[in-house]
Amino acid sequence: AQTIHQWPVAEIKAVGSPLSLGCTIKGKSSPNLYWYWQATGGTLQQLFYSITVGQVESVVQLNLSASRPKDDQFILSTEKLLLSHSGFYLCAWSRGTQEVFFGKGTRLTVV
């Protein structure tokens, strides 16, 4: 069975500080990987997707970047956090381009 693990579970960070969020998928080789962002009480906005190691496509520009250093790992980062980065970050995977499965998310609060 496939498992998706996100870390950390929650973060409180200062404006202007760097950020790194991670995601690991086990039990599925060469998955498509995604990062989503969700404001409190809001909808889900796709940020990035990756179909293979080393290749990441950006969907929206939010002063964030993503990388896929290994087949089963997806990293979301920024060098300088903004207040608007607060929210719920969700990593997801899919087989093909449909049936997307989400992780438990990371709650980020920027103060």
């Binding site: 498509n32 995604y34 809001g42 909808t43 889900l44 906005q45 796709q46 997707y49 179909i51 496509e57 969907v59 969700l90 997801a92 381009t97 449909q98 049936e99 997307v100 499965f101 989400f102 992780g103 438990k104 998310g105 709650r107």
Partner: protein, 112 residues
């Protein structure tokens, strides 16, 4: 321009009733429509999905009705239970495209 719209924003039903959640979309090229269930503080879970070649998909108490001509679909939850209380998101994607577009969600409350 919002590509996927959901209504109502919130819905309250009594236990045992049928909850009906609506969704409409703009892009005629959308051909895959999943519904997700999300509890507070958790990631969304894939509940049920339909492809545009079908007009109905059933899974236990959950049924999707799809009208391609009107670009509308609905999720029916029969015999609603308090444990069904959650936010439900309708989403859509285009075949071969790695982008899933979500609606704003419907918050469902089931009163015992």
């Amino acid at each position: 321009q919002q590509q996927v719209r959901q209504s109502p924003q919130s819905l309250t039903v009594w236990e045992g009733e049928t909850a009906i959640l609506n969704c409409s979309y703009e892009n005629s090229a959308f051909d895959y429509f999943p519904w997700y269930q999300q509890f507070p503080g958790e990631g969304p879970a894939l509940l049920i999905a339909i492809r545009s070649v079908s007009d109905k998909k059933e899974d236990g108490r959950f049924t999707i009705f799809f009208n391609k001509r009107e670009k509308k679909l609905s999720l029916h939850i029969t015999d609603s239970q308090p444990g069904d209380s959650a936010t439900y998101f309708c989403a859509a994607s285009e075949g071969g495209n790695n982008k899933l577009t979500f609606g704003q969600g419907t918050v469902l409350s089931v009163i015992p």
